[in-house]
Subunit: 305 residues, 2 copies
């Protein structure tokens, strides 16, 4: 599988912090290794990675430490989209240089209501400045958080002008009709849905997988549906995945993911988040664990294994 | 006037770019000098400065060049709020070290729907890490763009814990009732409105001035109302200011400001913006100039003077 043909299940890998809020590369490397054993690709520096709470220098340092540790860069799709073009260029260049299979690129997200021309110009400027044929971009459409959508008209223009660089999308709109519209409009465009709730629908319509928060804690289950979507029982598998997701969604997602990793690993430090996020309080943590126990779900991550 | 007592009219100074999109410090220094001659303070790196399209390194470089050029740091209130705490700390520390009268601090703006506790923790963490008694923070409340408001409950807590650091606010909510609520709730808290449309109301209710996009092109007119708000004719002055503002607001504000500076200075390069923004096209530029001519408004900026 060439880098341009990434597919399957990816986790926006949660980023562990030490007590002083510095990123903890050792914990990140161990957790990333485990995710790979579950057939789960590494979309480090996604929304659920608290990437936008990390400086560019911190992200570059983590990326180098991951690859230095022997983590397969071909299975990595780091988030590289920042508000400022020079930052996006630095991160994307570093990812390409390290051999990352792809990058997941947010639009510049501070200014709202920007024009299609301006959005196109921002992505085009980044591509031209990186100037690296090994750069494979997956556009990151997440209007609920970025508040800056990536319209189909902009994707069409980018695909026309940069067909060997713009490879696909992560659609985190939560709007399946938007994913379907992209699948229908752009043959060969690699559509990852941003939630495993749409994984089966995506696979049945020509999509290539999903990049989902929940893949941090349920990678094997999601991967089983990805691999078995054409088999009997796929609909039941999808429903089972939905049950886990709905339970997690009752809580603040990022602190909830970290609480689950913290419990599984017996490592209280894993629960640490950076402000403006806050860790779950004791009551929410207990309720989350009760809810997960109630549906018979547990994460089997052992960092010592 | 001590740094803690900033007041008057400030411009979020528009940032000039060269053809290759690098920030042009010479043009910025010249324009900043001129604004100071108009009694206009320098809120460099505001929303209208395209600050979020600049890397932290670019902002630090510009700040150093401004002060190296002899621009009075005491009249500067640079924007320093980023999504990531380490970035906000670096910029705020540099501003304090250079003697800036204040800093204008956005909340971390990527994650939406964050809790009051999380927002408080983000600001508190920055203050503790900067650890500089000369840091004077003006909170930047701009929900229409940041999409992360700074609620009164958070301000109250910050004022209680950091009364010698948290000095005031720029309220760009566009909601006068919010400005008034802050004026009433926090005696001594320095409220700048984010639009000169509310300048007279703000002064009549204990506010200290405004920080407005339009101050880039109409500084003396706005300053005249700031100084003369208790005189006869203040209401008429406010209406005159509103007329200029309403004309500018028919166009994309940042490119429109730059078009006006470009025309006044006879320097076509001033019209350059960074993507995702786009310069006004020829038709919009001509229409803007016609509209401004129609109300008898012109900017008298001559960089050679």
């Amino acid at each position: 599988m060439s880098a341009a043909e990434m597919s399957g299940v990816f986790a926006p890998v949660v980023t562990p912090f030490r007590d002083d809020l510095t990123p903890d590369h050792d914990r990140l490397i161990a957790f990333s290794r485990w995710l790979l054993t579950q057939n789960c690709g590494l979309a480090v520096f996604g929304t659920n990675s608290e990437a936008n709470s990390l400086s560019v220098d911190e992200r570059i340092d983590l990326l180098e430490r991951l690859t230095d540790a022997g983590i397969d860069a071909g299975r990595m799709m780091p988030g590289t989209g920042c508000c400022a073009i020079p930052d996006t260029v630095r991160l994307s260049s570093k990812a390409a240089e390290l051999g990352c299979g792809g990058v997941l690129m947010l639009p510049p997200f501070y200014y709202k209501g920007i024009s299609d021309d301006g959005l196109y110009a921002a992505f085009a400027e980044v591509i031209e400045r990186v100037g690296d044929a090994s750069l494979n971009i997956y556009l990151y459409h997440i209007p609920p958080i970025a508040q800056v959508p990536i319209p189909l008209a902009v994707i069409e223009r980018l695909l026309k002008d940069y067909p060997d660089t713009v490879r696909g999308v992560k659609d985190s709109s939560g709007d399946w009709s938007n994913s379907l519209a992209m699948l229908e409009a752009f043959p060969g465009f690699r559509v990852f849905v941003g939630s495993e709730a749409f994984l089966l629908a995506n696979m049945r319509n020509g999509g290539v997988g999903c990049i989902s928060a929940i893949a941090n804690v349920h990678p094997a289950g999601i991967d089983a549906l990805y691999r078995g979507w054409q088999e009997d029982g796929a609909d039941a598998q999808q429903e089972e995945l939905n049950r886990v997701r709905q339970t997690m969604q009752r809580y603040d997602m990022i602190p909830a993911l970290k609480a689950v990793v913290s419990r599984a690993s017996g490592d209280a430090g894993w629960a640490q988040v950076r402000p403006p996020l806050m860790a779950l309080d004791e009551a929410a943590r207990a309720a989350l664990f009760d809810d997960l126990d109630g549906i018979g779900f547990s994460l089997g991550y052992d960092p010592a294994a």
